[in-house]
């Protein structure tokens, strides 16, 4: 499945990495806004790689540089061995790109959009239908409908079909699940898993931390800087402290009172619980102290459960430390 491009001008040094990013930076407005700040990472062939971070972290800027739409201010990067600045034409013909915004023609039907993008890449829908088959069958009943009239989930499926139709070596998906309902999101990630098994390297960005565990490896990114690159399991395993989920009858007061418990303790609302992370004391010592403290404050229905952290907890930890 892996395409070998030995004859390409930029592939003199053939590496195992599908994507190699070396210290790239990007600023806007003449240097006033630092969107991407000295970012480096690599993506292996056939890997499902996630860029995880909040809005404005610089994910889209990284995508646009890798898809040759923007020039980095400094640093270099290669995609499938091609330099993103000098070999931009080879990259453009071999990658699939799905921008963050829905970028298909709203006044064209599903069918027309798909055929247009297939022709644009010098191929036909029939030729690579096997790649999109199990995605396309879900939207095929509506193939005469204009793209603008589709639901969010269907739009994303169509966009994915259009990005896949020319059998790309790398698929760049910029926030494909933003604004999509939870069921469709789950389906979408299942589709990505199937594509990965077909040997396509996938780089995906998302602001949803719960999607991070579905990637092979992730890069946590904040304000243009990469905080950590590793497998989700490794990132969770690297969490240094014991984390507790705390709950009580009067949650509102609990949120206010917890910061006064100990200065070294970090607490934040997480779903129906409050996550409490202690830097200095670990183990049951903290748990007993906490229960005693909350009892003294007059809380009812106290729950303190030791838990293993999620990616989001790891992210918060990295931001606060």
């Amino acid at each position: 499945m892996v395409e070998h491009s030995a004859s390409g001008a930029g592939s003199s040094k053939k590496s195992l990495n599908m994507i190699a990013v070396n210290h790239i930076s990007k600023t806007y407005n003449g240097g006033a806004v630092k969107a991407v700040n000295d970012v480096s990472f690599t993506v292996d062939r056939g890997e499902l790689f996630g860029l995880i971070g909040p809005d404005g972290a610089g994910k889209s800027s990284i995508f646009r540089m890798l898809t040759t739409l923007l020039l980095p201010d400094s640093g270099t990067a290669t995609v499938n061995g091609y330099n993103i600045v000098t070999n931009y034409q080879q990259i453009r013909s071999s990658v699939g790109y799905m921008p963050g915004r829905f970028s298909l023609y709203q006044d064209l039907s599903i069918e027309e959009n798909l055929h247009f993008f297939a022709t644009l890449f010098n191929t036909t829908v029939e030729e690579n239908y096997h790649l999109i088959a199990d995605i396309y069958v879900q939207i095929a009943p509506f193939k005469k409908r204009r793209a603008g009239k589709l639901s969010g989930g269907m739009k994303q499926k169509l966009a994915l079909c259009c990005a896949l139709i020319h059998k790309p070596t790398v698929l760049f998906l910029d926030e494909p699940t933003t604004g999509v309902d939870p069921v469709s999101r789950k389906e979408f990630w299942e589709m990505l898993g199937r594509l990965k098994r077909q040997g396509i390297t996938i780089v995906v960005s998302t602001p949803y931390m719960d999607e991070a565990s579905l990637c092979d490896r992730i890069a946590l990114i904040q304000q243009g800087k990469i905080l950590s690159v590793d497998t989700p399991q490794q990132i969770i395993a690297a969490y240094p402290d014991q984390l507790y989920a705390v709950k009580a009858a009067d949650m509102l007061r609990l949120v206010q009172i917890l910061p006064t418990f100990r200065p070294s303790v970090n607490s934040y609302l997480f779903g129906e619980y409050i996550h409490v992370d202690a830097l200095d004391i670990n183990g049951d010592g903290l748990k007993d102290d906490l229960i005693r403290f909350l009892d003294a404050e007059g809380f009812k229905g106290i729950e303190v459960i030791p838990i293993s952290p999620t990616i989001e907890d790891c992210f918060i930890k990295m931001l606060t430390s």
Partner: protein, 369 residues
């Protein structure tokens, strides 16, 4: 090539599926042709005229000096024969010519009535009627002076007025070329600019750029549908002017369509240039309207005669492509001139087109921003 055809097809879908675009494309030319019949009247000053004085006697000289003293006319040249006069009309150097017959004074004082021929370029009917009525009243003043207050005019001068090119003084010849310039400006410049900028605004340009299709081809395949649609518009307007407004086309249809195609290409390059320089549809539309449509209306000579403008404005009018197109179309449609009569204007249009084409090519970006 297959990509190109698919792209052009897609572009036609966009146009045909948007009712507003369709209305602008085809409703407006029809409406404008019908509405612009009521053209504006303008006062004419310093109109350039020619005098063919075959008499060269005291009476003719007196009358000529009165005409020049009125301030409305400026004698461009004294012509010596009819063919020279014809040339001056065709080149647009003069708007009106006055011909005094031999023995003008003799006829006037001995036979008590003399004739004088007034020929006007009626391809602009408003100017022509205004000018001839000015001349008539100057002649009447002169007669009254000769009569010395007598109730009956002892000496009569009879002006024989001829309207050149447009004897029935139809307004259509004047505004049909004007509407053509206006519609083409609107369709080719504004619609092209908007349709390219729309791809930028909706983000589809990002997807198009990350494809093997060359960015310059994206732009070119945008221009083709609008070239075809504009030609359809030109044909509609011409057929309407022939069959609805009864205005025959004096010159060659082929030349007329060829020149129209040239002007459409000029407009398309302008539209593409605007689209390269702007980021939103609103800005593209505003620039097209303010920067293109307004100058077309003001400086093409279609609504306001350029000769009457102050010199700085006359100079500005030279860079407005519609002015040259207007002259070309009038020359072919009304005066029936061939290519030799309009090659200078054609050359200027080609130069403007090349200028914007090269400028677009230079500022075109293969990436975002």
């Amino acid at each position: 090539m297959e990509q190109f055809i698919a792209f052009v097809k897609k572009e036609f879908y966009h146009v045909l599926r948007d009712r507003r675009t369709l209305f602008i494309l085809f409703g407006m030319p029809l409406a404008q042709i019908l509405i612009f019949g009521f053209a504006l009247t303008n006062e004419v000053k310093n109109a350039r005229i020619a005098v063919f004085d075959q008499a060269k006697d005291e009476a003719s000289q007196q009358l000529i000096s009165r005409i020049t003293a009125s301030g409305y006319f400026e004698i461009q040249e004294d012509v010596m024969d009819n063919s020279l006069m014809e040339d001056a009309f065709k080149s647009g150097k003069i708007k009106l010519a006055i011909i005094f017959p031999r023995h003008f004074e003799n006829d006037l004082f001995h036979q008590h009535h003399a004739q004088i021929q007034v020929i006007a370029d009626a391809s602009d009917p408003n100017t022509a009627t205004t000018l001839t009525s000015y001349i008539s009243s100057i002649i009447q003043d002169y007669q009254a002076e000769l009569a010395g207050g007598a109730a009956v005019m002892p000496y009569q001068i009879i002006p024989e007025i001829r309207m050149l090119y447009n004897p029935q003084l139809k307004g259509a010849p004047n505004f049909v070329p004007g509407v053509m310039a206006l519609v083409l400006m609107l369709v080719s410049v504004m619609m092209t600019a908007i349709s390219i900028v729309r791809e930028k605004e909706t983000g589809t340009m990002e997807v198009l750029l990350v494809s093997p299709f060359k960015p310059t081809w994206v732009i070119l395949s945008k221009a083709v549908p609008y070239l075809i649609l504009s030609l359809v518009n030109v044909l509609t307007i011409l057929l309407m002017s022939v069959y609805v407004l009864d205005l025959p086309i004096a010159g060659s249809w082929v030349l007329l369509l060829a020149e129209s195609t040239l002007f459409i290409i000029t407009c398309l390059t302008l539209g593409i240039f605007i689209s390269i320089k702007t980021k939103s549809q609103q800005v593209a539309m505003l620039i097209s309207l303010m920067g293109m449509l307004l100058p077309t209306i003001m400086f093409s000579g279609f609504m306001f005669p350029i000769e009457n403008m102050p010199l700085p404005l006359q100079l500005i009018s030279n860079v407005v492509p519609a002015k040259w197109f207007y002259i070309i179309i009038k020359s072919i449609m009304i005066k029936g001139l061939g290519f030799e009569g309009i090659w200078k204007e054609t050359l200027i249009l080609i130069m403007i087109t090349l200028f914007f084409f090269l400028l677009s090519l230079r500022s075109f970006k293969i990436r975002l921003e």
